[in-house]
Each structure stands twice: as C-alpha cells, then as structure tokens.
Point group: C2
Chain length 416, copies 2
C-alpha cells in the first residue's frame, strides 16, 4: 500500500543496485512521485539475479522489479549530451515540491554544483561507496566492521559474510530520511542542500551508535564470538525433537521469568546460580552463565516437537521465533500473506501476479492506495517529458527519432 | 556533528533498546530537539552491556550512552498517574513543531487515541514487535526470514544468527522517516497521524523489496547457501600469504575487468569460459562459474602479503576490502578517525573521552554543531518541565518532593 503523506513531492532518481533505489521506493511508498531514469535498454542493475526464466535469457529481474515498484520509468540515453540535459532539466524543473535528485551515480553532469547553477535551491542526495568518492559495496564495507569475524562462532581466519545487505538497507532509509529533512529545511528557509551519504560512513557511524567503537577504545576488548547466543543477556536457538530450530530471547526480566517458567527449570536454575555464584536477575550475569542456562533449556526442546514447544512458549508469553526458509515462511506464516495489511498481490508486467509489500508502516487513519508494480522500462518517458518539462508531443517525437529517449520496452513475456 | 535541518522540531521519546532510540538519535542528529523520558533510575535498557567497569557494578552502559547522544534526558516515575500525565502533557504541548511521540512502549496511557484527545493533530510513532502487538525482537524475527539458514554456508540444521541487529536498524530509520513524512503531511493538511511500525513487518516487507519473496513464490526455489560468495555475480573473500583476508567484489563489468587484470588471469579465465561454456561478461554466468573463478584468484592472494595485494588491487581499481576486528579498524582505518568529518571526540559523563559519530550524511554547505554526549539521566528534567510545560520552579520542586520526577543522577565515575 502507498500512503499519501508526501503527495506533492517529486523525486528524480538516477540510480542502480540497492541503496538509492530502496530510498526511492521508500519515498514512493509514502506518496512521493518518484521518477526513475534509466539508460535505454536498462542500466547496470537491470538484469541482476534472480531473473524470470526466458528462452533467450531476457527474463525480467525479480530484484530490479522489487526495488522499483511504485515509480515512473523514463528511458534516456545517458551518454548523449542531450540526454544528460534532459535529466538536469527534470531535476531542476520549477515548483516547491520539485528540485530533488536521488542518485548513486557520481558523475560531473549530475553534480550538485552543476544542478545548483540551474536551480539554486535544489536538493541532491548522492549515495557513495566511500566519502572520498572511491568505490565500495556492502560486502567490501561489511568485512571491515568486525562483524564477520564474530558471526557464527567465526574467527579472523574464517569470517562469515552476512547475506542480508544490511548496510545498503540502512543507507537507503537514512538517505530517504535526509531528503525529507532537507525538504523540511527548504520549506522553512528556501535553501537547497547537497547531501552525500557514504556506505562506509553508514556502517562505521553505526558502530559508534551501537557502542561498539567506545567498547573497543575504552575497554580495549573485542566483542566475543558467541555463535547464536545473543550478546548481553540470554538467548539462543534450540533444536526440537522433530528437527526444527527455535530462537528464544530473554532480555527483559519478564522474558527471563517466562522462559524459566515455561521450561519448568526454576529449581535447577537456582542451583546453577548458587554453583556459579551468579544472579540471573541481572541480564549481564545471565550472559555470563549462558552456557549453563542453555544446558538446562536444551532438554526441554529436545523432548518436544516444534508444535508442542511453540504452544507452550506462546502460553507462557516467551519471546520466541521459529527458523524457516523463505518457502516455509511463505507457506506457513500468516504475517507474510495478504492477511497482513502491509502485503497485497500485484501484477508485474513481464512477471505475473505475486505477493508484494507496500510501506511497512501502518497508519490506520490514512487513505491507502494499492502498490503499483514496477513498470516496463520507459513506460512513462513521454508522459514525464510532456508533464514535467512541458515538451510538445512533436518535440518528444524528435527525441525518440534521435535515439535520445525510448518508450516502453517490449514485454519479454509477450508472445513473439 | 549535528545539522540544523530540523531545527524547530520537538520529539518526545519514551523508549528502550535499539529501534526507537536510534530513530530518536537520527532525528536529533539532523537537528530535532529530542527529549528522552526514562523511568527514574533508568528503564529496562539502561544497564545493557557493555558497561564501564565500576567497583559496585554501576558503570554506565556504553550501549545506552551511544544510542542516546544529543538528546535531553528527563526522569519521571512512569508508574505514578501524575508521572504519566506529565508525559502526556509533554507530547501534546502546543506549537506547530511539537506534538510528536516516538515510542516502543505499547501502553494505553501513551496510545494515539488518548493523546489525540488532548491534541487532535498529534503524531505518534510506535515501534512494535509484531503488528498484532505481540512481542518480537530482532533475533526472533530474523530467524524466520530465511537468512540464518543460508548464512555462512549454513543449513536448516545449523542456522547462523546475524550479530548486527539489522532489523532494528532498518526499523529505526524507517520510523524516523515516517515521522518526517507525517510532519510534512501535517504542515500541509493540519492532520496528525498514528504510525505503527512492527519489526516483523519491517523484515518481511524487505524480503519483498529485495525480490526474495517473488523468487520463492514464482521460481519455487530457495536462495542457495553459498558461504562468503556474493549472490548473482562474482565476489568472495581470499586469504593472503600473511594470513589476512580480503573481500573482492566484481559485480559490474568494470569491476570484473579490473579483477581479472589485477590478478593477471585473463588467459586462464578465457580457458575456463571455453571449458564451462560460460560467458563471464554476463554477471549471472560469473555467478554460475564462481568456484572456477575463485580457484584462479586464490593463488594470486596466497602468493602475496596483504600490503602488496592491497596496493595492486588499489592500482587496478578493484572493489575490495580487508576484514578486520574493531580494534584493528580503530587502529588502522582512517575512515574511523577524526580525519573523517563524520567522527569527532566527545566527553561522556561517567565514561570519559572517546570517538563518536554524528550524522553519517555530509552536507558541505550546512552549519554543523558538535555532537553532544548522552546526558546523565534526568539532567534536563527541570529545564524541560519549565520550558515546555511552563511549570514554575516551585511546581517542579513539588514534583521532586513527591518522587514523581528526578534530577540528574549521580555521576558514577565521580569520587565517593
């Protein structure tokens, strides 16, 4: 679903991969008119896996179409000076809700300086790899954060990369936030803003915000590598009799009491506390005694199948979750279905009907519009050039003839 | 550094743990006046590990102080009706830039309905575990996403939890974004907004936005468990002669050419392409041939120490990064130092001087103010009650005498 919070805001997105497109998607799902510009035929991320099967290998990317829901698509030849001028004109078109660029393409003709010459109060947000403009991607930033060497009980010799592109995601949402902050500032002061957000700055500032840098500097210690235990309290995964795995977390005092009661281990917990001279009412001492606690919890799970265990966990209000694959999640979990109002079914050209998410936020009193599927590339080229730049159909026709813009690509799923 | 984008916005934060406090931190670092309310003596997250050493175990939390930089701190007894009324009054105080609540505490006296009775255009943003109000934390949501069973070459029998609280982080930034979107909407329409953002919705909607749900539904396949390889192109970690590990990514055509040239393996790559009948110009075919490619890259790294390898990678503009621990990162990487303008040194009461991050964004033309350290609990109690609620010093004194509010806690590092 899309909410009309940002009803009049127009954002030009010239982007690729995850961070900038996800920022644009977020703005779109809260109501902005996000116009994504791509190279004719598609940019560098247009064929990213996974793709739909196709006899000639031209199946649409499920990745690209997922990140570009709810946007208008314009196809322009970015190598031609006239194409670049069109994009500059789209970004700097007049109007209090226009004049916004979201990009991860660090090119001189989209620099803030060049845009500000055409529109002084332009807001540009450029996502970079590193702050000096050098290249970095989620994987080459994540490796430096210290997380891979403590993931999965790992070590410096066998670091474990994350699979979720967590830094791209954080970067996307902070970029979308920064754009709105600059819009609020412009509404009050009339001033534009140049915003640059580097993926590596995103990751390393987060190490500060989570206390990891201060811990390292002041306590001279590394965060321990503790496998699936959670840090600083008690929580771990356990295997059930039927081979399922369940995560439990006992961070708060209430969650801890619930777990002990559910597993019926209060006597043995009391004994362990005496033996180890620890007080598990303190979360830090639960962490210290985590192996002893886990040893008491393990048999309870091992003696039950998942269904039985989950019913008991639920009855005792334990904080728990079942591990699943995505196929299992889709098949079994009502939170990932159209029973959940944040999901709906959409029909993506070239792909077909499938479940898709709107904005994650629930805003009960706001109107909601359906999420629109990712358009075929260039679907809105003519419409946008006419509406935003005021070009005549004849002028747009000339741009087509010169190969500077392109209309909708052919639906790859259509009959030959 | 703090930017004055949101100079006049006042946000009342009643929160705990990561998502809501990080959302508040984000708003504060872009200039909002964020007032965090805590229980007298500290809430449920006030002593989270890691903590500073302290003879009586009362060292300040490096976690709490990291997430609560740049905010004002007010201490109120949340159990007393008069304390709850004060918080409601703070949230619903008049003014176009006030009337904002950020919370993850789902309590009836902070419900949107009860606040809207006092101020019709109030904006409340409540972060939840699940959309039905039931409890969930990052770990008990992440286990369901499918990521742990494919992390680190894992399997359903041995899932690997992430260490970075990625869903909390995403939730934080989306919540901060949603608040600004609702503020923009209120400025234009005069309407308030009730916003609810569930951690599980955050995670599962992301599975849609990354194409993972569509892949599962339409292609009936699980994302493969591929260890440290990156999905959909070529990238993996490699060990150097001196036992360092380096991540390389060859996602774009340019990155791929750079890697092949740097390692001097173009002839053997050509041969492998012929043998496997693959064309590595296509990223998907690089992914298919990833093991054969890695086998050619491995010896290049194994024959060089890290310094030599990195110089060559840099000269060839390969996209790469070195794995490090946090101690190594702080000692060696200039991106995590005050040479980087997003970092500065701050002095946190009860903790001392340490490196800390401001907003990750760089806004060259904006004024910047230093990041202020997390205050001792209750430092701003009197100031806020007098400024925001207009209470007299005598009235505030009576609240102290009745134990309803508290002033600054004692600095635990001060001499006894």
């Amino acid at each position: 679903m899309t909410y009309p919070f940002l009803g009049r805001l127009r954002v030009i997105e010239s982007s690729a991969f995850i961070a900038a497109p996800l920022a644009g998607l977020t703005l779109a799902q809260y109501g902005a008119d996000v116009i994504r510009i791509d190279m004719i035929g598609g940019g560098i991320d247009y064929a990213r896996m996974p793709r739909m099967p196709h006899p000639e290998g031209r199946g649409r990317s499920l990745y690209w179409t997922a990140l570009n829901k709810g946007k208008r698509s314009v196809a322009i030849d970015l190598r031609k000076p006239e194409g670049r001028e069109l994009i500059q004109a789209l970004v700097t078109a007049p109007g209090p809700d226009a004049g916004l660029l979201l990009t991860n393409i660090g090119t001189p003709w989209l620099s803030h300086e060049s845009l500000a010459q055409k529109r002084a109060d332009v807001i540009s947000c450029t996502i970079q790899g590193n702050g000096d403009g050098s290249t970095a991607v989620d994987y080459t930033v994540n490796c430096a954060t210290g997380y891979p060497v403590i993931t999965g009980g790992g070590s410096s010799a066998a670091p474990v990369n994350h699979v979720l592109p967590a830094w791209d995601i954080a970067c996307a949402y902070q970029a979308a936030f920064a754009v709105l902050a600059a819009v609020d500032h412009r509404r009050r002061t009339g001033q534009g803003a140049e915003l640059k957000l580097a993926l590596s700055d995103m990751a390393f500032t987060m190490l500060s915000h989570l206390g990891v840098l201060a811990e390292s500097e002041l306590l001279h210690q590394e965060r321990p590598s503790i496998g699936n235990h959670l840090y600083g309290a008690f929580g771990r995964d356990f295997a059930t009799a039927d081979g399922q795995r369940i995560m439990v977390a006992a961070i708060s005092a209430g969650q801890w009491k619930s777990l002990v009661n559910c597993c019926g281990i209060s006597d043995s917990i009391a004994q362990v506390q005496r033996e180890l001279q620890l007080d598990f009412a303190d979360e830090a001492q639960r962490f210290e005694g985590r192996d002893a606690i886990a040893a008491l919890v393990e048999p309870w799970f091992a003696q039950r199948n998942a269904q039985e265990a989950e019913a008991a966990l639920e009855a005792h209000k334990v904080c728990w979750g079942r591990y699943s694959t995505v196929q299992e999640l889709l098949a079994q979990d009502a939170r990932v279905s159209t029973d959940n109002p944040v999901f709906e079914r959409i029909d993506t050209p070239g792909i077909g009907q499938h479940i898709a998410a709107g904005a994650a936020v629930r805003a009960p009193a706001m109107e909601r519009a359906p999420t629109s599927a990712a358009a075929l590339l260039g679907t809105h080229t003519d419409e946008v050039l006419e509406q935003v730049l005021g070009l005549s159909p004849e002028a747009v026709g000339r741009l087509h003839d010169a190969g500077i813009v392109a209309g909708p690509e052919r639906d790859p799923s259509a009959a030959a």
